[in-house]
């Protein structure tokens, strides 16, 4: 936990290694023997947690209100659209107030911590935990308390989505320049995206897509579309579609 304080140093090591070792970098995992047939289940879709900001010179995340607003609108729309491709009935978890909102925020936070742990300790080849790198082991959970969120929804599974984009501090000027020239996104800093399917009765994580270097500039509608596709790539239960994945 204290080590998280040095997260950016770890990240340097991580990013440095992936640039030379892209093929070895896992980005998704599924619980062994988990299968989700299309049209067989109801999935509770939680509101995505989206944050956009810049990276200060000290490497800390500084939220940026306009970027976050743009991302929330664009990505929100793209994901709402993309839910049609999940192959199963999707129930949207509506906005909550009071203790329920707090509870949801807790689980969203826990989800992103779990996803980050999976990246650090299973996906990243140089850093696997011995107990997690054994064949067929994909063993993380949010705990059975998550069933509370699903009460009265009739949903067996829950889908959590998290994105956080930190643009390098010179990114803003570059972004403005390139946006004027037609929307070429400069991807710098860190672009985290996690999508995870959870068994709502046990809290077990059944499927995870997690990447610290996602594509698509979420501040633009096109970039958000691209990000949404990337997030849900390989979703179990999605009916096979010949050719390109489409939202």
């Amino acid at each position: 936990m204290i080590r998280q304080v040095f997260a950016r140093l770890f990240l340097c090591v991580f990013l440095a290694s992936i640039s030379t070792n892209v093929a070895a970098q896992e980005k998704s995992a599924i619980k062994e023997a988990f299968v989700l047939q299309p049209g067989t289940a109801r999935i509770l879709l939680f509101r995505p947690k989206i944050a956009v900001g810049s990276q200060s010179t000290a490497g800390m995340f500084e939220p940026n209100a306009d970027w976050t607003t743009q991302a929330r609108e664009n990505l929100g729309a793209a994901l709402a659209h993309a839910q049609q491709s999940l192959g199963n009935e999707v129930v949207v978890y509506g906005d909550q107030v009071g203790p329920k909102a707090e509870q949801l925020a807790e689980y969203q936070s826990l989800f992103s911590i779990v996803a980050q742990s999976v990246i650090e300790f299973k996906f990243f080849p140089g850093n696997r935990l011995p107990t997690k790198k054994r064949q067929g082991v994909f063993d993380w959970t949010l705990g059975p308390g998550v069933a509370d969120l699903a009460a009265n929804t009739g949903c067996r599974y829950g889908l959590f989505i998290f994105t956080e984009d930190q643009f390098g501090s010179t990114g803003r000027k570059i972004f403005q320049l390139f946006a004027a020239m037609g929307g070429v996104g400069i991807v710098s800093g860190q672009h985290k995206g996690f999508a995870g399917l959870v068994d709502l009765s046990t809290g077990e994580l059944l499927w995870l897509n997690a990447d610290l270097a996602m594509g698509g500039d979420v501040r633009t509608p096109d970039g958000a579309e691209k990000r949404a596709i990337q997030l849900l790539e390989g979703f179990p239960g999605r009916p096979a579609v010949a050719g390109t994945l489409q939202p």
Partner: protein
């Protein structure tokens, strides 16, 4: 809409003269643009999400009396028309900062409430932030696809994300230019001029903040790089010129109530909490300076106790002796300060003065038998 635009334009034009020696009259207030209904935003409601998160933040100090008091000072400063619709959030963060978002959310950090010494000083800071808000300084460059309007088209601007308050972080989202800072200063002076508060307070705060940053650096044997250390100054670059011109402009304005006794009284027990946060920052130099400033009108028992804690926590042999003296002085002022007995006992014990230390601890336990560390302390003094 055109009428509003005209009013805002008048307001801005009134500030155009640089280096003016007199403080001109305050213009009438132009109401903020309200979005005409909400667009379809898809399946989740995004409106005001950030303020909702702020409202639910665990860092929020939810004391309505404190919030109402601060709001009242703001209203007295900028007038009822202007303060109507501002929502103040006081957050428990041990650094000096305040900022305001275009939808009227004002965040104030507890470190700021600790450092201002009077209602007038608080009024000066709040007025300054409000001036940025009134001048719509945060809007430049915001791209939002609505019917293209004027600089007042801030609809959809949702404010700071996620109640993310980070101690020592660069607080504000906006990069204000020096010109904008100057405009905000001038406008806030206008507020103060027609308020019950003294306009001279403005210059004092900046001076003390700079001196505190110097003291912090000195305590760490570093060269002072004043402006980076204080989050407020990351976006409000302060220089000597600024303190000077503020003082100049305020000179002609008749001195009025400072409200320092009232301020200390109303902030009340919160000051002890904020001091406790400050003491845990491992900033001996800055905290010592701050305590000295707060004690300008006399060392109260609370301040003496805090000083005792400061020295005891640094813990060098001479510090421990000094701490014991401070605790005793605190007790001389206020005998019912059980924590001072605790501090005194611990300082003495740590300085190898066992008999006296045990006596002080026993006194503490007698006064406060249900102290959270009672069992621990009892074990330490029994042998």
């Amino acid at each position: 809409m055109k009428k509003r635009l005209a009013a805002v334009a008048v307001a801005l034009a009134g500030l155009a003269a640089p280096g003016a020696t007199a403080v001109p009259e305050l213009p009438p207030y132009a109401e903020a643009y309200q979005p005409q209904g909400t667009d379809e935003r898809g399946i989740w409601m995004l409106a005001d999400e950030d303020e909702r998160v702020l409202r639910d933040s665990k860092f929020l100090i939810g004391d309505p009396a404190l919030r109402d008091y601060v709001t009242a000072i703001l209203c007295r400063t900028v007038g009822r028309d202007r303060c109507h619709g501002v929502r103040i959030y006081i957050l428990r963060v041990a650094a000096f900062n305040a900022n305001m978002t275009p939808n009227g959310t004002m965040q104030i950090w507890s470190g700021l409430l600790l450092r201002v010494r009077s209602e007038a000083e608080l009024a000066a800071v709040l007025g300054h932030e409000f001036a940025h808000f009134e001048l719509r300084h945060g809007l430049a460059g915001f791209r939002h696809q609505r019917a293209a309007l004027d600089i007042a088209a801030w609809a959809g601007f949702l404010g700071q994300y996620g109640g993310a308050v980070r101690q020592g972080a660069m607080g504000s989202i906006y990069q204000f230019s020096r010109e904008q800072e100057r405009q905000a200063d001038l406008l806030s002076l206008k507020y103060l001029k027609q308020s019950p508060y003294s306009a001279q307070a403005a210059a004092h705060i900046w001076e003390r903040m700079m001196a505190e940053a110097d003291a912090t650096a000195l305590g760490r044997k570093q060269k002072s790089t004043r402006y980076n250390r204080v989050p407020y100054f990351a976006t409000h670059p302060t220089n000597l010129d600024r303190a000077t011109y503020l003082a100049d402009l305020a000179r002609d304005v008749p001195a009025r109530t400072e409200g320092d006794a009232a301020y200390v009284d109303r902030v009340g027990t919160w000051r002890r909490e904020f001091l406790a946060d400050q003491l845990k920052l491992n900033d001996f130099g800055g905290t010592e300076y701050l305590l000295g400033q707060l004690a300008a009108s006399g060392w109260s028992a609370d301040l003496l106790y805090a000083r005792g804690e400061l020295y005891r926590m640094r813990g060098h042999p001479r510090d421990l002796a000094a701490a014991a003296d401070f605790y005793r002085a605190a007790l001389a002022k206020q005998a019912e300060l059980p924590e001072a007995y605790r501090g005194l006992g611990l300082a003495l014990l740590r300085n190898q003065q066992r008999a006296q230390g045990c006596e002080a601890i026993q006194h503490y336990l007698a006064l406060h038998p249900s102290a959270p560390d009672a069992a621990m302390l009892s074990t330490m003094i029994s042998q």
